[in-house]
């Protein structure tokens, strides 16, 4: 039974969620992190800032995003499946919530340039979009491997006026893009804001990014109350989301952490930091981390560039430790199946990332039988169509006699 007394709190000056979090950054960046924390604290209680952000979220990003009941798939699975449609936001994912907030904050702080890391490219596209909107310059770091498998998003970022720089060291994926973005920020901290894309990194990012995505959970709570209220307490039995760094998951969890709803994060089997990692420190905070016997960070391996990350946001590590959320793992093969199932059954092509959460639902449908399940559909699948075309063509070729 979920413990409804757990709260997602302000982690204080030290930025701690239990043992997790903190601010492990080069000395050069400490004053910038402190300045950012102070600026966010001030802005977040400033009605003028909140109004400007809310207006942008409504008039520019298209919020509130709808709650969609999946009638056909629910019937097939013997459960009641609801989707929080973050895929319908401008730029195609939940990432825009965080980015609009950080870009407004950066402007308020007098910064003129945004730097960001991206995996699948969704956060990079969102950052490039916000930079275009607010007239800022933008540099996005992306692993060479990801640049290859997400060519469309690379082009999108360039269309939006951003410079995309390849991260060519290490595993050449999201982890290395974060390294490069941090190195950039060390050199440019005077005029540049690091627009970090998930609930990870040094304090205040895990907390600030959670607060900026809280809108997902707040909306979903009200929408669930309206839809389900007549039949009971208006709360779904299970709330689930995919977890790489964990921003969309923490966003939706934040709306239900104080309810009886069970919270389930779904990690890729090849990048399951909570499921298979041990606590460690990388990219600014202490959290569960995939690492070898000497503390070298391991390379994650996932079909989804957005979840191809060996760490996880520190608040997820804490939620796992206190038992308020649990973290499941799914394989690439299960994800490919889920991607097709939602497309065919509901006419919604999901991004590969939220397809992870659906893959868990498909596998756990016996356990979930008769229950109401809310899935945060964090992004749309347009960016993945090219990659899936190749994957499915290969499969078809293998199946032929």
């Amino acid at each position: 039974m979920a413990d409804p007394t757990v709260r997602l709190t302000d982690p204080g000056d030290a930025g701690r969620f239990g043992d997790f979090g903190g601010r492990y950054v080069p000395e050069t960046l400490v004053p910038a992190c402190q300045e950012l924390e102070a600026a966010f604290r001030a802005a977040w209680v400033d009605p003028a800032f909140r109004r400007e952000l809310d207006d942008l979220l409504r008039d520019y990003a298209g919020r509130p995003s709808p709650l969609t009941e999946c009638h056909r798939l629910s019937e097939q699975l013997g459960l009641r499946l609801l989707l929080k449609r973050e895929d319908l936001n401008h730029t195609g994912s939940h990432k825009i919530n965080n980015v609009l907030g950080q870009a407004l904050l950066a402007r308020r702080m007098g910064k003129t340039r945004l730097v960001a890391e991206t995996g699948a490219g969704q956060h990079g596209v969102a950052t490039a979009t916000a930079a275009a909107l607010l007239g800022m310059t933008c540099t996005v770091y992306m692993g060479e491997v990801d640049i290859e498998r997400q060519a469309l998003n690379v082009f999108r970022m360039r269309l939006l006026g951003a410079e995309v720089r390849p991260a060519s060291s290490g595993s050449r994926t999201l982890k290395d893009a974060v390294n490069e973005a941090m190195r950039d920020w060390v050199a440019t901290v005077g005029d540049t804001h690091y627009c970090l894309g998930s609930v990870m990194g040094p304090h205040p990012y895990p907390w600030m990014v959670r607060e900026l995505h809280r809108v997902i959970g707040d909306e979903a709570r009200a929408q669930c109350a309206a839809l389900l209220g007549a039949d009971g307490d208006g709360v779904p039995d299970v709330v689930t989301a995919c977890v790489g760094g964990g921003s969309n998951a923490i966003g939706i969890f934040s709306g239900f952490v104080d309810t009886r709803a069970e919270l389930v994060g779904v990690e890729p089997a090849g990048g399951a930091a909570v499921g298979r990692g041990v606590p460690g420190v990388v990219h600014g905070s202490r959290s569960y981390l995939l690492q070898d016997e000497w503390g070298q960070v391991l390379e994650a391996e996932s079909i989804s560039a957005g979840l191809d990350y060996p760490g996880v946001g520190p608040e997820h590590s804490w939620l796992a430790d206190v038992g308020r959320a649990r973290y499941e793992q799914v394989t690439d093969a299960e994800v490919i199946e889920a991607f097709q199932v939602l497309s065919r059954t509901e006419g919604i092509i999901p991004a590969l990332e939220p397809a992870h959460a659906l893959a868990w639902i498909l596998r756990a449908s016996d356990e979930l039988s008769g229950r109401t399940v809310l899935l945060n559909l964090s992004g749309r699948g347009d960016k993945d169509v090219g990659q899936m075309m190749d994957v499915l063509a290969d499969r078809l070729a293998e199946e032929r006699p």
């Binding site: 030290a14 903190g22 601010r23 492990y24 950054v25 080069p26 000395e27 050069t28 960046l29 400490v30 004053p31 910038a32 060291s169 290490g170 982890k175 290395d176 390294n179 941090m182 190195r183 060390v186 050199a187 440019t188 901290v189 005077g190 460690g280 420190v281 990388v282 990219h283 600014g284 202490r286 981390l289 690492q291 000497w294 503390g295 070298q296 960070v297």
Partner: protein
């Protein structure tokens, strides 16, 4: 202006005592950096640069995600890891390397944290390493490490960056042991064509609040730049410019030639 008191250290303090005494003798301090395990001859390089006039040697224990390092040291770290170097193997090889000058280890926090802070500190001491530099552990997070390091008589060198306000610099200089590592520019490690104006500025700001040795590192790339930095600083750390030569295959002899050249420039004052 407040000066950090010159409290004599109870135990350990081999690096700081050594650097202070050399400084007192009128010498500018030179600390070359070598990535441990980058190639088979890396321990020979440590000995060679010590013989060529280094006052101490900084040895990098490679980490998979070195966020404070630029392309040169990233490359050296990747080579070392690919060759199977581990924190254990690096310290084993340092043990008994008999370099003749104090050794400091530079690595990232997760290496120490994963081994266990007390264990890591005692392994350093056991290998004859006097000091540690953990560039991703700022003042606010350094407490657990300094507790372990102090107990093992390992000195913790702290970085002082140009972005720090004066009050913060004072606290950094007060907590640092061994020397104060003044970060010469806004950026990561790597050779640059000219010394940044920030190099002498930050050295001067540190010198104003501490009498510990203040060495400028990051972006000190050749003999002329080292000499320029030392118009204000007590000395320099030279990393990427040396590692560039090692990656080019110059080996212990080339490393010794380069360090001797910098030494001569500093001595010519």
């Amino acid at each position: 202006m407040t000066l950090t008191p010159t409290a004599p250290e109870a135990v350990g303090a081999q690096l700081e005592a050594h650097l202070r005494s050399r400084r007192a003798a009128g010498r500018k301090l030179l600390v070359p950096y070598v990535t441990g395990g980058y190639g088979d001859d890396w321990v020979d390089v440590v000995r060679a640069v010590a013989d060529a006039g280094a006052d101490a040697v900084e040895v990098g224990v490679p980490f998979s995600d070195p966020v404070m390092d630029g392309p040169t040291i990233q490359r050296a770290s990747e080579l070392a890891l690919a060759a199977g170097a581990t924190p254990g193997s690096i310290l084993d090889q340092l043990h008994g390397s008999d370099a003749g000058v104090p050794l400091a280890v530079m690595t990232y926090y997760n290496i120490a944290d994963h081994w266990g802070l007390e264990r890591f500190a005692s392994e350093l001491a056991g290998a004859g390493v006097c000091a540690a530099i953990l560039p991703d552990v700022p003042l606010e997070e350094v407490g657990p490490w300094t507790a372990a390091a102090d107990a093992a008589a390992v000195e913790t060198v702290l970085l002082a960056a140009p972005t720090a306000p004066d009050a913060r610099l004072e606290r950094i200089c007060a907590r640092a042991r061994g020397f104060v590592y003044a970060v010469g520019l806004l950026g990561v490690t790597g050779a640059r064509s000219a010394l940044a104006a920030t190099a002498t500025e930050i050295a001067g700001r540190c010198k104003a609040v501490t009498d510990r040795p203040v060495l400028v590192g990051v972006g000190v790339s050749d003999a002329a730049q080292a000499r320029q930095a030392c118009t204000v600083a007590d000395g320099v750390v030279i990393g990427s410019a040396l590692v560039d030569r090692l990656l080019a295959g110059e080996g212990p002899d080339g490393a010794a030639r380069f360090v001797a050249e910098v030494r001569a420039a500093l001595d010519a004052g």
